[in-house]
Amino acid sequence: MQRVPLLMLGFVALFIGAGAGLARLAWPMPAVAAGAAALHGPLMVCGFFGVVIALERAVALARWWAYLGPFAAGLGTVLALAGAPQLAAAGLYVLGGLVLLAASLDVFRRQRALFTFTLVLGALAWVLGAALWAAGWPVHRVVPWWMAFLVLTIAGERLELSRFMPPSPAATRVFAALLALIVLSLPLAHTAWGILVFAAGLLALALWLVKQDIARRTVRAKGLTRFVAVCLLSGYFWLALGASVMLGAQGLHPGSAAYDAALHAIMLGFVFAMVFGHAPIIFPAVLRVPVPYHAWFYGPLALLHGSLLVRLAGDVSGNFALTRLGGALNALALLAFILSTVTAVLMGTPALPKASKT
């Protein structure tokens, strides 16, 4: 199956999903985005990340059926934007998640390890979250499930790479315990204390990642490797902060400033920092075009973090104008990231010294 159109479906969801987010912040938006204001979360999580992560897993597995995952999720986006009944779009997102789950189980079957199991649980959280949304749950109640989808997927991949570090059975046991805490709290995340257990699990996981991630070492390297490490370490800050906000605000109360702050610290600050760092690695693998590293990749990253600070400053101070401005700058950071990546591709690989012909 063609990878480029599948990836494009993901980016349609990203663009319109981000536009929908801006519409929620009362920015004037084209009708297609303004009309999708209620779909901001599903488009970002299922439409963009669902497609991208399922596509990435399909590329890794190199099985044709695994490509049905990003295809189904991408089709879900099309239906959602076409105004189809929520059940149809959500159903396709469930289907996309099920294929990712099957692909993750296949990886687990080939390599039985805690990190492959973590990827399975991440995919399962997407499926169950999308199923609950399909069943009519409001998005804000589904949020912990989708947060778990992204956090566990990232954590599983980081756990995998942490094997480069000196083995520590104790650290592995702590990770397993945190994984259990997060997953078991999910079905109770709608209760007052369930969400606190969930948040505490995320906070502890952020600290675990800071301690065990190879980024602590690779941040001393150069070029792309250091950039990835800076993305990760700065992302862990937002994961810890978002989880702390949830703890401080006694949960996720929709419509509150703390809800906006916690959600965007984690889903935007943490998750997109990870995306910014890995795009130069993953895009070449998925699209077969090199994305040569440039020092100006730090620009969009700085804008992402700076714009989130503005947004959260607005949340903390109750100054909606500031939150609104931060939101616009958030979108600008994503745009800057896309433009910088595309520019790097178009500029191509720096010319290598010609090999002498003998």
Binding site: V107, F164, P166
Partner: protein, 103 residues
């Protein structure tokens, strides 16, 4: 240009980095076997996990690195293998030292 020997192939593969680790696939212990025959270069390599999406690009880079030191038109076969499955003890001393393993 003559056929490269195994150590030349290994040196060429030392230029192929795992971008995340900032280390070559050789240092990380991902290259399992190098065999140079009279008319072809065969390499067995692995990834740290089957969940790794960059396998294809590392294989392509490895092929290009070997082709650059081989006579034009030499068949370069880089096989992705999963047996045995990679584990951290396969990393070289340099990699272990970088990641802080006790010496």
């Amino acid at each position: 240009m003559n056929m490269p020997d195994e150590s030349a192939v290994r040196d060429a593969l030392c230029t192929v980095d795992d971008p995340e680790a900032g280390m070559s696939i050789v240092a990380l212990g991902l290259v399992y076997n190098i065999a140079v025959t009279d008319d072809a270069v065969n390499v067995d390599m692995t990834m740290t996990t089957p969940a790794c999406p960059v396998a294809d690009s590392l294989v392509e880079q490895s092929k290009a690195a070997i082709a650059a030191i081989s006579p034009p038109g030499t068949p370069v076969n880089v096989n992705l293998v999963w047996e045995p499955i990679w584990n951290p003890s396969m990393m070289s001393g340099v990699a272990k030292e970088f990641f802080g393993w006790p010496g």
